[in-house]
Symmetry: C2
Subunit: 218 residues, 2 copies
């Protein structure tokens, strides 16, 4: 594990590097130059070299970078050498999408429980896991190790349940509910606010259209 | 419409402001001070004042901000006064989640078509829309106005279909496939890379755990 502090700007870029390096490995490619990677990723080669230097990923003249070494180092920095137990709260379409996505388990994220409030959904099987009632959620968290809670439930329930889980010492929340959780500072939260994402797209589209209109008016 | 160029840092924060202002309006609150909004949003009041000044959102001493004015101005900047036609390509769990999410239509994003490759899924109704075969996608795009294509399909198909849609002059892509699309520069793309989001959460969790371990040893 690298001990040196890596800047948050670099950390932000690591998941994307990891994704490209994973793809190279899948294709059986174990060396790549910064120029080639630069072309693929649409990032300057000097940016890539600077970023990789942060954690001892030094390319060799005439050889390039050792893909599996870089892949493993970045994986360690991202904490992917752990196996995390994930519970999903909310077994609607979004919760099911997460449960059924094979890519997560391949990265060491194991879905250990799925919960829902709807009696019609409780008892159904999703990706080989029986959906449990939220009534047994507290007991489940007390008796099983839970690292990450994915919140795929309506916003009015998300905050309350997240607070309760934080009290029961769940430390990480992957929040899909369109609200901010306001949890204690000993927790970590990653938000996926789809509505905000769609607004950013709307902004880009509207900006592009108004630029074009101005050009046409000339 | 505000004509002044707003910095990308401010634009990035606008969707979150818009969400809070929408919630205030839903609760019937039409004035708020920067201090109150600051407390709610966990952003400094001076940041809020600076941001709002950008588009003429000047608070008044002793009155505060006019919520519906700010809400509408930010909505205009984000292009939300348009009505956008959205097609969803990939009617799996994620595509269904998008189609069923009421919040989008409330913001003027109208789902006008859902497409899938799977013959078992084609013909089913999702949120009152019949899923069509991807074989009729090109015809649909030629005969209907499509502003945004949401890509909720596997990555090996996403790039190819996005390129084809861009040729047919679809301008905006909301990409959920774990790949970069590499589309012509006259298109706009907003990526939602769930795997990368989960890696960022993993990083935060792992960093927190290693800080704690050091403190315990210390």
């Amino acid at each position: 594990m690298v001990d040196k502090k890596i800047s948050s700007a670099v950390v932000k870029r690591l998941p994307r590097y990891y994704r490209y390096l994973s793809e190279l490995l899948e294709k059986g490619i174990d060396r790549i130059s910064s120029q080639e990677l630069s072309r693929k990723m649409n990032v300057t080669a000097s940016q890539i070299r600077q970023d990789f230097n942060n954690f001892g990923g030094f390319g060799q003249q005439g050889y390039g970078y050792h893909v599996s070494f870089l892949h493993d180092e970045i994986g360690k920095i991202l904490g992917l050498e752990h196996n995390y137990n994930v519970i999903i709260i909310g077994a609607g379409n979004l919760g099911q999408a997460l449960a059924n996505y094979g890519g997560f388990s391949a990265r060491g994220f194991r879905i250990s429980g799925i919960f829902d409030t709807d009696p019609d959904v409780v008892g159904k099987r999703i990706h080989d896991i029986e959906v449990m009632s939220v009534h047994v959620l507290e007991d489940f968290v007390k008796t099983n190790e839970v690292d990450i809670a994915a919140l795929t439930l309506p916003k009015d329930q998300a905050s309350r349940i997240a607070c309760r889980l934080a009290e029961l010492s769940v430390e990480a929340f992957w929040n899909f509910a369109p609200t901010d959780l306001n949890l204690p500072s000993n927790t970590v939260v990653e938000n996926v606010h789809l509505e905000e994402s769609l607004m950013r797209l709307s902004y880009k589209l509207s900006e592009k259209q108004s630029t074009r209109e101005k050009e046409e008016k000339g």
